[in-house]
Symmetry: C2
Subunit: 350 residues, 2 copies
Amino acid sequence: STSFDSTEHPHRRFNALAGEWVLVSPHRSKRPWQGQQEETEQEQRPAYDPTCYLCPGNSRVGGEQNPKYESTFVFNNDFGALTADVPTGGVNEGGLLRAEAESGICRVICFSPRHDLTLPQMTVPAIRKVVDLWVEEFTTLGARPDINYVQIFENKGPMMGCSNPHPHGQIWAQRTVPGEPAKETTQQLAYFEEHGRTLLSDYLTIELEKKERVVLENEHFVVLVPYWAVWPFETIIIARRPVQDITQLTHDERTALADAVRRLTIRYDNLFNISFPYSAGLHQRPTDGQEHPEWHLHMHFYPPLLRSATVRKFMVGYEMLGDPQRDVTPEFSAGRLREQSEVHYKGVPA
Amino acid sequence: STSFDSTEHPHRRFNALAGEWVLVSPHRSKRPWQGQQEETEQEQRPAYDPTCYLCPGNSRVGGEQNPKYESTFVFNNDFGALTADVPTGGVNEGGLLRAEAESGICRVICFSPRHDLTLPQMTVPAIRKVVDLWVEEFTTLGARPDINYVQIFENKGPMMGCSNPHPHGQIWAQRTVPGEPAKETTQQLAYFEEHGRTLLSDYLTIELEKKERVVLENEHFVVLVPYWAVWPFETIIIARRPVQDITQLTHDERTALADAVRRLTIRYDNLFNISFPYSAGLHQRPTDGQEHPEWHLHMHFYPPLLRSATVRKFMVGYEMLGDPQRDVTPEFSAGRLREQSEVHYKGVPA
Ligand SMILES: O=P(O)(O)O[C@H]1O[C@H](CO)[C@@H](O)[C@H](O)[C@H]1O
Ligand SMILES: O=P(O)(O)O[C@H]1O[C@H](CO)[C@@H](O)[C@H](O)[C@H]1O
């Protein structure tokens, strides 16, 4: 064929939300893979593990004892990357050696007392409790004058550096706004100033018309593979209403967010019949006291797997030194996720 | 202590070369690790492997036969992410769906006919032949009007997505300038316009005075852990003379680059007594026909390991959604690399 075809020809796509490019090589999915294979363990975990430092009633490394919690539980990370009591100060030698003290708070959130569950195996009301806790934490942390950004996230699975299978996520809240949300602020602000609508509202309108990248919808949220997705099965959950942060969600919207997370993660698990690894997190307005009408609440899912339960995408040489690169199109991945059932392959947990 | 101390307190450092921040958490190296352990195989490879598609005389997947090469060998990747014959064209819907056809050439470079070697086990004259081939390839590819950037790199080890242990690297050359060198152009240009010297010359002057991050030196190159290093044992090789690309190196300088690569990679292997995984690559001026006096040739090394041969740093949740984060200081890592011998732990290959 002599005219450009994005299902066939290498091309770059622009990430309108972050202001960056990704290289897409659709033809490359055909290459044989002789490299590293990941381990998959279909382990059966007990509902309670006496050696787990996140199970109810157990002791943590720092010596503290967890309460006998019945839904969620949150505490300060015993080995947090950020601490609240850092003396201010820094370094600046000719703009070439530059450092600034950084303060913050790292929290750990247990999603369930059950050691053997993960989000896709929990009920909507149970996930709704996690959403409620996110709201509470965002409110309290964001109200502090020394906290200008609150990052809520989950690393799921050993492949994503998660060292404990007990269902849990984290919150890192800090003085400065990190690079990723800062880039998204720049892009969203420029768009909002030009159009008077949020970038993601207009983007959602286009995607809902085209349908080819949409994975699932409910009344208040849409899940899709972004046009500029980097990871093979990357998705984004976008709020239909342009709210700036999670505290602005109505009660129905909170339940709808829980529903979207549940249905998406069930589809993920069903894709390769494993507990699907990913890192996921909410992106919201900075908590710097400004309104940020340009911000539009969303949640990113970055899963590493490419072809099967054991073959992952490596973001290495070219990706580290040049640009991120992907081997299948976002449209292909969206189709695969759309095909999946919303009944978990393991059935309903006892 | 009540005053800021970068060996103790969490802080952010600014990457003056790329214009980005990294979060440094020195206190965090004490946390226990119960997560994923990497495999290490102290495999003995044969000097020639009849099933390897890179060994001399063997057939590749595409059917072509490799020559009986005696030092280096270069060919077009049979499954390249970029191809030269892409029709021009693209997509633009309201700036939100944006794509552009991208053309380019992907090359594979065998460093040695010996299947059982890696760069640190090769002699300086043998690595010098690799440098000579880099020069040749940069010259030929860079001269093409459809190629505006040439990325030379190596992925070493299965952990870095390398699917064949035969010593080899890659070159991806393309129409547009990728994000990473584009950021470095912006930063270097701003500095050059203000100071009339390259950013890396002035940076090198400071580092050579302080010594604490320098790993090794020779007459023409300095290897150090950058002040803003993201990966635990990340290093950079900087040319003492501010040349824009590898073709400007004198014969002595080419040999000195080979010497620096050899001595650095021996230290890496000796650190944990394994074949040390990394992705590495040269950053050079775009080949867009302009002079780029702001550019200063350097080579990045990004190794994933953190504490031992089996515990890696995971760049996951916070890092993907916020900023890169590291658990030990660059000064600590430089000290560990400085301690290492420059005699390979396996001795001299037969
Ligand atoms: O080209 P290779 O060695 O097959 O593939 C490797 O390097 C590429 C360039 O960094 C990456 O895109 C791949 O994910 C990685 O597995
Ligand atoms: O905090 P954890 O679960 O111990 O650690 C994990 O998540 C962190 C935040 O993304 C990363 O910095 C670590 O590399 C990763 O292993």
